[in-house]
Symmetry: C2
Subunit: 206 residues, 2 copies
C-alpha cells in the first residue's frame, strides 16, 4: 500500500535560512527523511556512518561516479561529496519523502537525472529589500552597487530553473508553504496515473 | 500590492460531493470568490442579479459569445449558461481567487482559453470501491458490469486533462488538500516571475 514518496530539493542564496527551514520541516513532518550524502572525507569525532554521512573510500566513490550511482556530486577542498541514487530511490519506494538541501549546481544535476523531484528555491525577503536599500540610500559607489546587485541577480536567475519559489519571511510560514507544496504535489495528476489507471483498467474486464 | 489571484476549476463525476467541498472551501478560505454565471434563464423567486446569476437577455448572451466574452458556455434545456471572462479576470486582478464548479466539457473550454487556471478533478473513493465491488461480487451480468464500468471509465479518463486529482475521502481532508494546492500554486515559479524579475532587473541599474 506504500505510495511512492517525493524527492524535495531545497536551494537558495546563502543566509536565506534554508537550514532552519529544513530542520523545522523534519520536525513537523514525520514522513520526511533527510538525504544522507556519501563523502570521501574521514569521519569527525561523534559522526556515525549512515547517520551523518555514508563514509566512502575514494575508489568506491569513483566507481559510484562511473556507474551513475550518484544523483549529483562535487569536490570541495579535495574531498568528494555526493547523493547516492539508491538510498534516495529506496527511501522513496518505502513511501517516505526525501528532502535534500543543496546548492544550485547540485540541484541542477539532480534535476537532469531525476526530473520528477520537486525543486524549491528559497528567497529571503531581504534580497529585494537589500536591492532597494542599496540603490536608494545613495552612499555606495555605482561600482559597489553594481557588484552587489549582480551577485544577487546571478543567484536569483537560477530560481527560474526551479518549480517553486518560497519567500522565507517567517520560518513557520515558509515551512507551512513547503508542507502545502508536498501535499499538492501528491495530488498532481502525473503522480496519480496509477490510481486513475487502476479504475480505468477495470473497464476492460468482462 | 494586490497580487493576481488564481482561478480554480473543480470537476468530478456526479455524487463526488464537490458541491459540499466548494461550500466548505468558500467558508474556510475568505480570499475565495465563487464565480457567478451568466444565464438567459429568467430569475426565480428569491434570486438576485449579480448574486445567484447575471441574468442576461438572449441577444446580450449571443453578443458575449460572438465577442469571446465567455470562458465557456453551454445550452441546457433551451437556456444558455456561461462564465463571463470579465468578471473572472477583474476578480483575479483584485487579488481574490476565483472558484468555479463545472462539468468536464465546460472545464476543458476554460482550459483552452485560460490555461493558467488550476484544474482539479475530484474523485470519490467509492468509484474504485464500486468497480471492485461490482466485479467481485459476481451477481451482476457481465453486460451490466461492463456498462457500469464503462461509464466510470469514460468519466475518469477526463482526469488526465486536469492538473490535480483530489480523492474526497472526507470533506475536511479533501478541502484541506485543495487549500494546500492553492497555497502551492501561489509559490510556483511561473506565477512569481514578477517577484524574481523585480529583483533581477535592479541589477541593470547603475
Amino acid at each position: 500500500m506504500a505510495r511512492q514518496g517525493i524527492l524535495i530539493v531545497l536551494s537558495g542564496p546563502s543566509g536565506t535560512g534554508k537550514g532552519t527551514i529544513c530542520k523545522e520541516l523534519l520536525q513537523q513532518y514525520p514522513n520526511l527523511q533527510y538525504s544522507i550524502s556519501a563523502t570521501t572525507r574521514p569521519p569527525r569525532v561523534g559522526e556515525t556512518d549512515g547517520v551523518n554521512y555514508w563514509f566512502t573510500a575514494p575508489e568506491d566513490f569513483q566507481s559510484m561516479v562511473n556507474n551513475d550511482d550518484l544523483l549529483e556530486w562535487a569536490e570541495v577542498y579535495g574531498n568528494y561529496y555526493g547523493t547516492p541514487r539508491r538510498y534516495v530511490t529506496q527511501t522513496l519506494h518505502s513511501g517516505k519523502d526525501v528532502v535534500l538541501e543543496i546548492d544550485t549546481q547540485g540541484a541542477l544535476q539532480i534535476k537532469a537525472k531525476f526530473p520528477q523531484g520537486v525543486f524549491i528555491y528559497i528567497v529571503p525577503p531581504s534580497i529585494g529589500e537589500l536591492a532597494l536599500r542599496i540603490t536608494k540610500r545613495g552612499t555606495d559607489s555605482p561600482e559597489v552597487i553594481e557588484k552587489r546587485l549582480k551577485a544577487a541577480y546571478e543567484e536569483l536567475s537560477f530560481a527560474y530553473k526551479y518549480n517553486y519559489v518560497v519567500v522565507n519571511d517567517k520560518v513557520a510560514e515558509a515551512t507551512a508553504r513547503i508542507v502545502a507544496i508536498i501535499t499538492a504535489e501528491k495530488c498532481r495528476v502525473e503522480r496519480n496515473t496509477d490510481l486513475i489507471k487502476t479504475i480505468c483498467e477495470c473497464g476492460s474486464i468482462d
